[in-house]
């Protein structure tokens, strides 16, 4: 212990000085945060407005649909994801696996507990039970796929299609149930990000392929689009979509703010994704295309079966990074358009009669910051895991 102290904190007198200064600052900061969270923070404002913050004015009697979506996704995740089981001597012990799971999901679970504690209603307890049950069921289904011959022989497409039906059906029901103008809060941040990610994928890949096309006109058009979008600030594009989109559509169509922001996010992220995918394609050695040609495959098949899958796999970390940025940038939609996403609601609730003018801004921003931070942090940690697992980025 003493040698560790000497080596890491007090090597020279300059070192010791740095240690004292930095530790002092760190301890003061930790104490202030602790004091704020436990003692001086007035958390009633979050307590009262929790539903508003998380889902906006989503109708209360349809909330079970949202619970359904989360549960169904948990089931699907447990049934589909996760690495292969390692058997035999190398398999980690129960305790080690528990430690790994805690490290990986501990933060999410902790935040979940905080939310449940704040909500404090009976139904949240049921919700937690439902999620745990869904996870367990998902793992079990995964085991059945391996063990029961009839299930194992089903082609992958059918198996995954059926499994994915669960969350997809729930999502479709949810979208159709409530008027989108009532949606708000964290739900809308998620929804905007999720939809934009889904839609920008095909467009981004097409743009990347177009930029490498042999036809000069196609290459030029794609290049112009990508460079123009990458040079423009997202905020200005959102503002533009608020006032100018009407001019480009026939007068009968008046899209709501959600449509406008999803359009902008999709077009914007597609350009960045195109550059990422192009980088991935460039990193594939020429030998791959040559091998494909030697086998007699037509160019399109080579692209979609050989080079593109490898390129996409190689740039997974960069893609996840882009999506994390998108997730954080959904806050801009609240500032530029009239979407009541969580940051905007946070500021709005400080103006409610019960809370006006008493400096509640610290508490609401802390809560909003916590949710965004945990989401972003967990996604980037997962991205690092994927990077390590695929061995990508290591020469």
């Amino acid at each position: 212990m003493r040698t560790w102290l000497r080596r890491n904190l007090f090597r020279t007198w300059w070192d010791a000085l740095l240690t004292i200064v930095f530790s002092g600052v760190a301890l003061w900061a930790m104490w202030s945060v602790f004091r704020f969270v436990v003692f001086t923070g007035r958390w009633e404002i979050i307590d009262v407005n929790l539903t508003l913050l998380l889902v906006g004015r989503f109708p209360k009697d349809s909330l079970w649909l949202l619970y359904g979506v989360v549960t169904a996704t948990a089931f699907w995740g447990a049934a589909v994801l996760g690495g292969g089981e390692v058997a035999g001597a190398l398999a980690p012990s129960r305790a080690e696996r528990l430690m790994l799971a805690v490290r990986r999901f501990g933060l999410l679970v902790a935040v979940g507990f905080v939310l449940v504690a704040l909500a404090g209603v009976q139904e949240s307890i049921w919700f937690v039970v439902a999620i745990v049950a869904a996870l367990a069921l998902g793992r079990q289904v995964k085991k059945w796929r391996r063990k029961i011959t009839a299930l194992r022989q089903l082609p992958a497409v059918i198996w995954h299609g059926v499994l994915a039906l669960a969350p997809v059906v729930m999502m479709v029901l949810t979208i159709r149930s409530a008027d989108m103008r009532l949606w708000g809060g964290f739900l809308i941040n998620f929804y905007l990000a999720f939809l934009s990610i889904l839609l920008c994928f095909p467009l981004g890949i097409l743009l990347a392929l177009g930029r490498r096309s042999s036809l000069p006109m196609v290459r030029l058009v794609c290049a112009i689009y990508i460079e123009a979008v990458r040079g423009a600030p997202l905020f200005v594009l959102l503002l533009l979509s608020g006032v100018a989109l009407n001019f480009f559509l026939p007068p009968q169509i008046d899209p709501g703010p959600v449509f406008r922001s999803v359009t902008v996010f999709t077009l914007f992220t597609a350009a960045y994704l195109a550059e990422i995918v192009r980088g991935g394609l460039q990193s594939i050695p020429k030998g791959q295309t040559e091998a494909g040609r030697a086998l007699g495959l037509p160019t399109l098949k080579i692209i979609f079966l050989v080079t593109l899958p490898q390129a996409l796999r190689n740039v997974i970390p960069a893609q996840i990074g882009q999506f994390i940025s998108l997730f954080k940038d959904t806050t801009l939609a609240g500032a530029a358009l009239s979407i009541v996403e969580m940051l905007k609601i946070s500021q709005a609730i400080t103006k409610q009669d019960a809370f006006l003018g008493r400096g509640y801004i610290y508490e609401v921003l802390a809560f909003a910051g916590l949710l965004f931070w945990v989401g972003s942090f967990v996604m980037s940690k997962e991205s690092q895991r994927v990077e390590k697992k695929l061995g990508v980025g290591q020469r």
Binding site: R6, R7, R11, T12
Partner: protein, 261 residues
């Protein structure tokens, strides 16, 4: 378990007298987490002695010499170089590094500096020589390793053998008392190995104390005063080249030599 071998400088070739030890290692242990890289190594190297260390990969040869200039920190035991003991004190470490020169397997030349600057940077920054004097010294050394005309080029423009010779010049520029070589020719194409070995042989002839880790047995036979065979983090056998190569005593030494020679 084999007997613990104590490698003192008791026999030397070439008629040189045994002088005081310039490098002393006593009971040196080094562990990486659970793996023991060095298990109780004792070694004394005298002035002007040339010690060649051989052994299978993973035997701890590189770790041994990297502990001497503190590129690795030993966990137990004592290492004393030219009277200075290696401890946590950073001033000791810097003093020791000034007296030892190291040549790496992968050359490790600074790619953003010219060849001349690579050699001159040590004397200039550490020995505090003036720019002119350090460059003069650098040119001398480049002539000594027979590539004076490469002075203004960048390392990437040189062949592997030339780069390694620049690395030797860079180490010599600090006027060290001991030169450490970590597999200096292992990364070279076969046709360039000899040009580098010739330079090292000349250094030995000029009386430089050297510890060389290598697989080049012919070189070892020609130049070494003592050959040390290491395996699994221990010194297994020590002897003059003729003793060790022609009459190895330990079965592990015999096995290794039969695979190499």
């Amino acid at each position: 378990m084999s007997e613990h071998v104590n490698a003192d400088a008791t026999q030397m070739s070439g008629g040189r007298t045994a002088s005081e030890a310039i490098v002393v290692m006593e009971g040196v242990h080094k562990k990486y987490k659970k793996f023991s890289a060095l298990k109780g190594v004792d070694l004394k190297v005298a002035k002007q002695e040339v010690v060649v260390i051989i052994g299978p990969s993973g035997s701890g040869k590189s770790t041994l010499i990297r502990c001497i200039n503190r590129l690795e920190e030993h966990d137990e035991g004592r290492i004393i170089v030219d009277g200075i003991e290696l401890t946590l004190d950073i001033r000791n470490i810097e003093e020791v590094r000034k007296e030892t020169g190291m040549v790496f397997q992968n050359f490790n030349l600074f790619p953003h500096l010219t060849v001349l600057s690579n050699v001159a940077i040590g004397p200039r920054q550490v020995r505090k020589m003036s720019k002119a004097k350090s460059e003069e010294l650098a040119r001398e050394l480049l002539t000594r390793v027979k590539i004076p005309e490469q002075a203004v080029k960048f390392p990437a423009q040189l062949s592997g053998g030339q780069q390694q010779r620049v690395a030797i010049a860079r180490a010599l520029a600090m006027k060290p008392k001991v030169m450490l070589f970590d597999e200096p020719t292992s990364a070279l194409d076969p046709e360039m190995i000899n040009e580098v070995l010739d330079v090292i042989k000349e250094l030995a002839k000029d009386g430089m104390t050297m510890i060389v880790v290598t697989h080049e047995m012919g070189f070892a036979r020609e130049v070494a005063d003592r050959v040390v065979f290491m395996s699994d983090g221990e010194i297994v056998e020590v002897g003059t080249p003729s003793e060790l190569f022609d009459h190895p005593k330990d079965p592990r030494t015999q096995k290794f030599l039969s695979q190499i020679l």
